[in-house]
């Protein structure tokens, strides 16, 4: 019940539905569904179709606070031909289609709001077509980023986009995921060269043409990036061709404390302006550092802190670290510590890695929800300062961790789901934060996606004209609105 308060507070008002149209309840079987299930079985076999309650519930939730919305049935296709055949059946029977990768999303993207069919793509788990000299590889949706990097470990190549979780790469493409080293290697938008997509009616397309993988192209509309970030609302991604990078020769990690948020962000801007190809630059505010100190028995000064990582050859690292150290000193930075060997680096970064758990440990028994706004770099000090004032004024626990090189930061809201007042205050806070970011020329979601909870904010962010264009595209590609209904738009 308490969870319901939290969930309802964070969920936006549902659109008005015609009176009497009941939302489909799970385990309700209609004749149409029975016929569809029989057809699914003829395509994927008995093992490829599941009506089991536990399986459906597992496929109706992700890592967000949104409650479980299980589908009516889960199918497990083994190849793109099966995906296409299953989609055709769904199209015929007007059944919603919800693609599912690893269920590690943070915005409720996999909830089956109107029931329907969850397409679990975990059995399509092959790494296809690695081209080492061309720095590209094609993967199926069941391949996660850690699995790919493990596969590549002998080749000297890696796929650097690192959102934290061991997510499906096609899932990452679908949410336009990013990560701590986007400042150097980019997000999914910059690193997907081609996609194989199954549309709502079963049509299979290759967004850049079958098998094509030039490093750049100006051929036609950029369909690939239309699907990147579409969160399963335009089609099912069944193959992704990804851009690879050389594994860095060496890495150096560093930590530095600052007297103020402004000093930390100024240093970040100057490091980027100096042309240092910094790989990771993470900001932790004083509350977060305090939490990390308690959690890991560390003793960092309780003040805004930057965690940095540099990639390159030994010579280049020396130069990068020396320039950065000078900049931080000029901005009042202190306690600059750095390390090259793996064990010490891991120790230095442990604080940043454990940020989520350290936050939870601040208030045992509570849950955590991460906000995700992104603003131009120059506005970052202002938005963080205003956000911290908001947190204090409203008596909320929200330690801050941010990918400061991108202007993206997360408040890890720690709250008691059984306290309706706090739940409401957190909800209102996150809305104010999103609007604060929009007012500063930013976005309401830097990397987690729109999913279920930010659709109204998306409208505010884009304005009515752009929204109309998006809705037009959706209507063209999915006229029956079967692809992940109720998300994004």
């Amino acid at each position: 019940m308490a969870g319901a308060l939290l969930r309802s507070a964070l969920r936006l008002k549902p659109r008005l539905r015609p009176a009497g149209a009941e939302r489909r309840r799970y385990s309700q079987r209609s004749e149409g569904l029975e016929r569809a299930v029989a057809a699914f079985r003829s395509v994927s076999g008995d093992e490829g179709v599941s009506l089991g309650e536990a399986v459906r519930e597992q496929h109706g939730r992700d890592e967000s606070v949104h409650r479980c919305r299980p589908p009516d049935v889960v199918v497990f296709p083994r190849c793109v031909e099966e995906v296409s055949a299953l989609a055709k059946i769904c199209h015929e029977h007007q059944l919603p289609i919800i693609p599912f990768g690893t269920g590690t999303g943070l915005e409720g993207g996999v909830g089956a709001l109107k029931g329907g069919v969850c397409f679990s793509l975990r059995n399509m788990d092959q790494v296809l077509d690695l081209h080492q000299e061309d720095f590209d590889v094609t993967v199926e949706p069941g391949v996660t980023r850690k699995a790919l990097n493990s596969y590549l470990r002998d080749t000297g190549l890696w796929f650097p986009v690192d959102p934290g979780a061991d997510a499906s790469l096609c899932g990452m493409a679908s949410t336009s995921a990013s990560g701590t080293n986007a400042v150097r290697y980019g997000t999914m938008r910059e690193n997907v060269l081609n996609l194989e997509v199954v549309l709502a009616d079963g049509t299979i397309i290759h967004t850049a043409g079958r098998g094509r993988r030039p490093r750049k192209t100006s051929a036609g509309y950029n369909l690939t990036n239309l699907f990147v970030g579409s969160e399963g609302t335009l089609g099912i991604l069944t193959k992704a061709t990804l851009r690879l990078y050389g594994i860095p020769e060496s890495m150096v990690s560093a930590v530095c404390s600052f007297p103020s948020v402004q000093a930390a962000v100024d240093s970040t801007v100057q490091v980027l302006q100096a042309g240092v190809p910094i790989a990771r630059i993470e900001f932790l505010d004083d509350v977060m550092i305090g939490a990390c100190n308690s959690f890991n028995s560390l003793s960092y000064p309780v003040t805004p802190t930057l965690f940095l990582e540099f990639h390159g050859s030994s010579k280049s690292l020396e130069e990068q670290v020396s320039i950065t150290e000078e900049i931080t000193r000029d901005n009042g930075g202190s306690d600059f510590a750095w390390a090259e060997d793996e064990e010490t680096r891991a120790k230095l970064w442990k604080a940043r890695h454990d940020a989520w758990y350290a936050s939870l440990a601040l208030r045992p028994g509570c849950k955590a929800y991460s906000t995700d706004v992104c603003v131009p770099l120059s506005r970052l000090p202002q938005i963080i300062v205003e956000t911290k004032e908001d947190l204090i004024r409203n008596n909320l626990t929200g330690p801050i961790a941010g990918h400061v090189g991108d202007g993206n930061f997360h408040c890890i809201m720690v709250l008691d789901p059984n306290d309706p007042d706090e739940v409401q205050r957190v909800h209102e806070f996150t809305e104010r934060l999103a609007r604060r970011a929009l007012a500063m020329d930013g976005t309401c979601t830097g990397e987690h996606g729109v999913g279920l909870g930010k659709r109204a904010l998306l409208r505010e962010e884009l304005g009515p004209m752009a929204m109309e264009v998006m809705q037009g595209l959706k209507a063209t590609l999915d006229p029956k609105n079967l692809m992940n209904p109720g998300k994004v738009l």
Binding site: Y151, D154, G156, I247, E249, S313, E342
Partner: protein, 233 residues
């Protein structure tokens, strides 16, 4: 510091691959399946390279036994920092029946020929979790049931690597390119005086029994009934 280290590297099916038994039950499917260096051999190579970086040994030699493809595995060891490689050519039926006995004879013969002071291998045996060289002796800390045991041994010695010995480095592109220039010598088992005939014959290979689905029962009486049916009580 005349120490030369020999490291055994084995080309095996990649640990992330789902192993399948051949339809005729004579073995596992290897055609078209991804192969890579045995993860424990990676740890062994890493340890050897670290000893060289600490200037405790002079040269690291990577050895592998098998058909032409094992040269890829040797190249990976070279990219991680080994100085040169030795490919012991074993193929066809001989490779299918190559077992620990023959490989140990080969490695022993090579260790003698190359005058190696230390042979580091991926584990099956006593497990080292820390290795240091002290003059002409090796100090090894190994994990045993009760905790850690520190022993000092003379060289030449054989050490096997445990999971916790180190975290192997990745082969980076520049090092992979440099490795292409390092030498891999080929040698036949016969030249080492090793007889490859196997004393073992594989009769049949089967998958482990599939896990059966559980059954839910409503009452204790049902549970007892089912257990009796299954002959368990």
């Amino acid at each position: 510091m005349a120490a030369r280290v020999l490291v055994g590297v084995k080309r095996v099916i990649d640990y992330a691959v789902k192993i399948r038994v051949k339809p005729d039950n004579t073995g596992v499917v290897t055609d078209g399946v991804k192969h890579s260096m045995n993860p424990f051999c990676e740890i062994a190579v890493e340890e050897a390279v670290r000893l060289k970086e600490k200037k405790l040994v002079k040269e690291v030699v990577a050895v592998s036994c098998g058909p032409q493809q094992v040269q890829e595995t040797i190249r990976t060891a070279l990219a991680m920092g080994a100085d040169r490689g030795i490919h012991v050519e074993v193929s066809g039926k001989d490779y299918d029946t190559l077992g620990p006995l023959q490989v140990s004879k080969i490695l022993a013969a090579l260790a003698k020929k190359e005058e190696a002071s230390l042979v580091i291998l991926g584990k099956q045996g006593t497990f080292a979790s820390e290795v240091t060289i002290d003059g002409d002796k090796i100090k090894v800390i190994r994990e045993i049931d009760g905790g850690l045991e520190t022993i000092k041994i003379n060289m030449p010695a054989v050490v096997t690597a445990d999971l916790r010995l180190n975290t192997p480095r990745y082969a980076t592109l520049p090092n992979i390119m440099k490795a292409k220039k390092k030498k891999i010598a080929s040698v036949k088992p016969g030249e080492l005086g090793v007889d490859l005939t196997s004393r073992l014959e594989v009769l049949r290979v089967e998958e482990p029994a599939q896990r059966q689905a559980g059954v839910k029962v409503e009452t204790v009486e049902d549970l007892v009934g089912k257990l009796k049916e299954a002959g368990r009580i």
